[in-house]
Subunit: 360 residues, 4 copies
Amino acid sequence: MPVSTTKEPRVTQGTMWAIQKAAPGPGLKPATVPIPSVGEKDVRVRVTAFAICGTDLHIVEWDAWAASRIRPPLIPGHEFTGVVESIGSEVTLVQPGDRVTAETHIFCGICYACRRGLQHLCQKVQILGVDRAGAFADFVVIPEQNVWRIHPDIPEEIAAIHDPLGNAVHTALAGPVAGLRFAVFGCGPIGCFSIGVLKAAGAAWVAAIDKNPARLELARAMGADLAVNVERGTATQEVLRATDGRGVDGMLEMSGHPQAFRDGFEMLANGGRVSLLGIPSAPLEIDVAKEIIFRGAQVQGINGRLIFDTWFRMEALLLSGKLDVKPVLTHVLGWSEFDQAVELQRSGKAGKIVLLRDRP
Amino acid sequence: MPVSTTKEPRVTQGTMWAIQKAAPGPGLKPATVPIPSVGEKDVRVRVTAFAICGTDLHIVEWDAWAASRIRPPLIPGHEFTGVVESIGSEVTLVQPGDRVTAETHIFCGICYACRRGLQHLCQKVQILGVDRAGAFADFVVIPEQNVWRIHPDIPEEIAAIHDPLGNAVHTALAGPVAGLRFAVFGCGPIGCFSIGVLKAAGAAWVAAIDKNPARLELARAMGADLAVNVERGTATQEVLRATDGRGVDGMLEMSGHPQAFRDGFEMLANGGRVSLLGIPSAPLEIDVAKEIIFRGAQVQGINGRLIFDTWFRMEALLLSGKLDVKPVLTHVLGWSEFDQAVELQRSGKAGKIVLLRDRP
Amino acid sequence: MPVSTTKEPRVTQGTMWAIQKAAPGPGLKPATVPIPSVGEKDVRVRVTAFAICGTDLHIVEWDAWAASRIRPPLIPGHEFTGVVESIGSEVTLVQPGDRVTAETHIFCGICYACRRGLQHLCQKVQILGVDRAGAFADFVVIPEQNVWRIHPDIPEEIAAIHDPLGNAVHTALAGPVAGLRFAVFGCGPIGCFSIGVLKAAGAAWVAAIDKNPARLELARAMGADLAVNVERGTATQEVLRATDGRGVDGMLEMSGHPQAFRDGFEMLANGGRVSLLGIPSAPLEIDVAKEIIFRGAQVQGINGRLIFDTWFRMEALLLSGKLDVKPVLTHVLGWSEFDQAVELQRSGKAGKIVLLRDRP
Amino acid sequence: MPVSTTKEPRVTQGTMWAIQKAAPGPGLKPATVPIPSVGEKDVRVRVTAFAICGTDLHIVEWDAWAASRIRPPLIPGHEFTGVVESIGSEVTLVQPGDRVTAETHIFCGICYACRRGLQHLCQKVQILGVDRAGAFADFVVIPEQNVWRIHPDIPEEIAAIHDPLGNAVHTALAGPVAGLRFAVFGCGPIGCFSIGVLKAAGAAWVAAIDKNPARLELARAMGADLAVNVERGTATQEVLRATDGRGVDGMLEMSGHPQAFRDGFEMLANGGRVSLLGIPSAPLEIDVAKEIIFRGAQVQGINGRLIFDTWFRMEALLLSGKLDVKPVLTHVLGWSEFDQAVELQRSGKAGKIVLLRDRP
């Protein structure tokens, strides 16, 4: 595949390897598909690494959400990095050869949300690998406006996970942090990342809460001061004790689990912040009077990443050495090990798994 | 009752008239009780007018909340105005003869919330007429720190309702308003007040939603651009149609009703504000993923009034003529008509009812 | 000039009327110039009305700023409205025939400021009529991203002044307003507009300060509660007296005059907001310790308009009837009266002057 | 001196050692003065350590500011720690024997600023050791509302400098920090503290600028990534180069020096924050148009500490180990070495000097 070095828009006639949801139903299969063409404002990226998100597992399993949202055939995948292979005639932000990843919420730019600077809440958002062809493939095409250039000092496997790391940065930094105390519910990769971000941002104390001992270990490695297994049933008491009865100034919800909504408010100081990122699988019962109103809680729905404020701050935290996410990167595999990676992730025994194209 | 004009603390030996919850169970009765004594940092006020809050109705009816919180004997009442009769030796803020009302959340001043400027969320708050003797009486004693002086240009019946009006000001001004669109759920007095505050603060459009036609009339009188009877089942559609599909930028919840939590989020623009003041009587089911997270909603628990930021802004809105609350003041009665006032308020046919001591 | 009704990009071969700075030096002259061509992401607008900004007067007079910034030949003009005549092939936001105006700060979209949502502070900003061909002409070309559609209910002469009105909205709404008190220094059109916006947004009291009696009259017509001629030398005293010694909660600086920087801080309450829009012609001496530090002042440099948050709120304030700017629109002339308009504006006797193409 | 263990207010008849400004003019002298009495809401503290602030040097030298503000006889000193010796009858926050220090801005509690939560900007503020008797003495009396209890894990010499450290915390945390870049002008103790706070709060990069090589060394020890001697004349260039031309997101001004106002804005990214704490000795010339308006700068006057939000966050940063201020504590002396301490501090060769009562 020759790399285009001109700015001419081009349509490559060839085909490429991809992992595809060919038709409704469980599973994903490798396939040979046409290389996607490049519009005038588009960038085509030769993917060099990707990672599997919880969203991708829903697509594999074809659960109710996937069945209602996904229109096969679809190439999933939105956590990735690669090298610009060709660019449309209008593109100025990057050149072929640049290392990049992307903000995977493709925003329309003209809706009420977008025009007021809330592109991350675009009313017509298309998510890469969900609503349009994603990155589990040799090539992926993204609009220039969504491209993010990767600094040379950032390694491949971290470049591949800017999407979930950005979720964590957005959530953790959605209010004051320095000198305050926090609880993080759910210690999957994004929960663990957010613990690292909180500590890098000067959180004085962070409690991590999960039911999975392996994940609690990761949370500790990322800097959690207290790790509580929710199955002990003592999370609220332990947090209140450790904070002299004051409770936490902020709670990050990364699990989507109803128990987190019960415990999380209980341990929140009056006027505290609640930042919700984890997606509950069903409506939840909340004691609004006690937990939100009398407590004066500030509850934020968090979605995606601030475009591109979150990205600049994430990059700076990484480059400064303030934020080290390596403990969460428990596995680096090759593309041929995709099925093993899915299994590993399902097992709950892994942190983040990155798959490199050229793994030796 | 001679008015003390010295700064000496004093204990008046006499007795006074009050309305009292003498023992657990429904009802309130007039009683003769000792005049309360004045501590060094206290102000004793000769009450000249009061109003009946929804909270007072709970106390009359002795519902589950009242049974769990109220410790009889208790004089209820926290919406009032009066004249300073005597002051403790340490008091400098007011003099006997000053017209006053009070911030009725008696804050401790030293808890974690209070010391960070969140006195309205004091962890040891005592509410006047709930946790200590209230204002349905000849005299009420309040700590100096909670006293608010009434400007001479503010009439008696408005001075008497600064507490609920302050709730409305706090809720409405808890985010940007000018040039934005709002929905207000629940058109009782506080809901109606908040419509007036929103319009005074430059809201471009306000929808009022209730099931009571009389209250929807009051809402219109306070400036609502659209009044929807929730029983039509078309609130969301009507609001979306009137806002070109954008939805409202903010939603104020003043009803505590589960339907408001269903409709209110549905009509909210992405990134919009939800300010919750109405107290639901039971836990509620909320579709957190759809309504809060994907929408990027900012949900605020609102409690009391900012001390005293809300009060300064309320006074300035009233004095400038920007805010006219008279349409909501549907009845002015005398103290002897207390029982009728309770009935009237229960009927849902009144807005705010003020009871004057000296009604001709 | 036939209006294109297709989406095909086109280059019109003809010529058009324009007012031009042909070469360095004072003055502007009518000229016949080529009609500008339309790029793929551009919109060509048939101008139907424009207004003359203070910036345009600098260009006419060829002062030091103009000599250093302007590269003739240049068509000035950035306050305008018109009808879309043709659009580039990539444009989706508007159609030929749509009434429009434009955000006249043409932002690059990819600098550090733009990518963090601060497009109004773009580091490579090009201002229409300053850095590229403006609107004193039959046609003007603007990038789609900068186009703003005009609602049918907004009249021509108000559509023509969205740029300066947007400055006023941005400045006035750069902090809380409702129930607060303000001083506005400088009662030219933007100062007067901002008084209207403050009052629409619930300002409890606004003082207007200028040396020109005619402008102070306009300020009063826009709702100023106190109008002080700065030459009386009593502005600070009068404002302090009227605010019970508290001072104003916010000060909007619209004059660029050194006296405003002296008086304005003096009358500011501790912790107050200072929003600076007026451009001083030279560096100023400021007593930083007394005026900013000990006072805890919050001083904001204000530039342009928030893109497009300011625009949505401006439109909503206009459509709701909350904001009526007609008193400031003192003159409506025809294009042939351009020179008279310049003279009138220089005289300080006019508010805003709008020039209509088709004035009867 | 027997320690009172009752809550009875008391007046000790004895005398104590103090350092005093006995009469207008340069110098300070030891003196024997009456032990101050304890009002009902007061706390009398047996001082165990204090430090000398730049303000104290002004008082020693009797410069213009001191001559205009200080009314001898006065005991200076506001950086201190000690043990509660007796308390007034109304005091509940502390007990005799508690280790404490104080917020040294004695606020009135009832002015417009205080009642809106801006006690640090109290219009009638009295500063300890400036407007009333300070802490260079055996005993100091402070109102209960200003007392701050010291956690057992915080060592004596750090307890003694909470006042200047609080200035640094307030300034550094007056806006977002994590993942952003900063410049700090002036590397005296507060400047150096603020570098430590910025880094603890996740600043990605901090430049320190001063003319004193010893202070630049301290700045580096506190975590500065770049230390520039302002006399090189290259501060702006060096900072722009190190930030890829973007400039810094925030600038903390801790020097009061006019050069800082020139360089500081030049290196500020558009929309950046400028937090001013250093007190210029005279009015300054500022190019408001270029530096503040076109740049969209957000300039904050910073005064004192947020009461007590700053204090809680300072304590949490210290206890968590996030913030280590020891490098700045260059000297620990005894009270008998007061004159040497003044000389040392004047020389610019010291960081912070703490004087312990009981130094061996």
